[in-house]
Symmetry: C2
DNA sequence: CTGTATCCGGCGCGATACTG
DNA sequence: CAGTATCGCGCCGGATACAG
């Protein structure tokens, strides 16, 4: 996504996208929507996502109130991330956008097809 | 927004955000929603937006089928950009996200307030 | 396994100057 | 007024090594 790190703005869309800005956050939101996950699991699901970037993304999402970070003080270390109510609301607000995106993908697919 | 320039993905949200990726596209979408506009007018409304970046953004949005570019071959040059039906659908799909964003902004505002 | 610390390349975007 | 051409900075994100 875009480099949406913004200035002071009062646009709701901008304020919302700012929070899912970054290459992986939407995917993380989607994965966490199906239930709590541990970091290792998330990385397994998202090939190419490095530890550093994952941690950064989750920390920012936590700071934004989208996810909850539960730390168990045991050995080996165990941490579980889950969606907050606020995060779930965001996921729901994203649904219409998802529909539109799928329509766009269909368009692209049929545009790639030579003759219909 | 994020650097969402995507690889092959099947996520609708990603496909949608890819199209409004960039610092100004959501604002342009919003402005064009109220009717056709000429470049100079758009720049007047969006302080800080350079000619180059504006042209790039509009061209990309046109390529994505969001806006229509109407060129009048006169002097001085005249060009008018307007939203396509597809673009308007996107704007509508963005509405819930806008609502969520405003709720987030309210949160931030009251969090900044010392005592309630 | 979870998380931190650096280094560095790529590119989005802003500034500026110029053309038709 | 609409659009193009360069140049360069800032910062996100990938790679790697290391710590608890």
């Amino acid at each position: 996504m875009t480099r949406r790190r913004q200035d002071s703005d009062v646009c709701g869309v901008t304020a919302a996208i700012a929070v899912v800005d970054g290459k992986w956050k939407t995917a993380l939101l989607w994965l966490l929507e199906s239930g709590p996950h541990r970091p290792a699991e998330l990385r397994r699901r998202l090939p190419g996502l490095s530890e550093k970037v994952l941690t950064e993304a989750l920390r920012e999402m936590a700071a934004d109130g989208l996810v909850h970070r539960e730390v168990y003080d045991v050995l080996p270390p165990k941490t579980v991330y889950s969606l907050t109510a606020f995060g779930r609301e965001l996921a729901e607000a994203l649904a219409p956008l998802s529909d539109w995106g799928h329509r766009r993908l269909e368009r692209l697919a049929e545009a790639a097809r030579p003759a219909s």
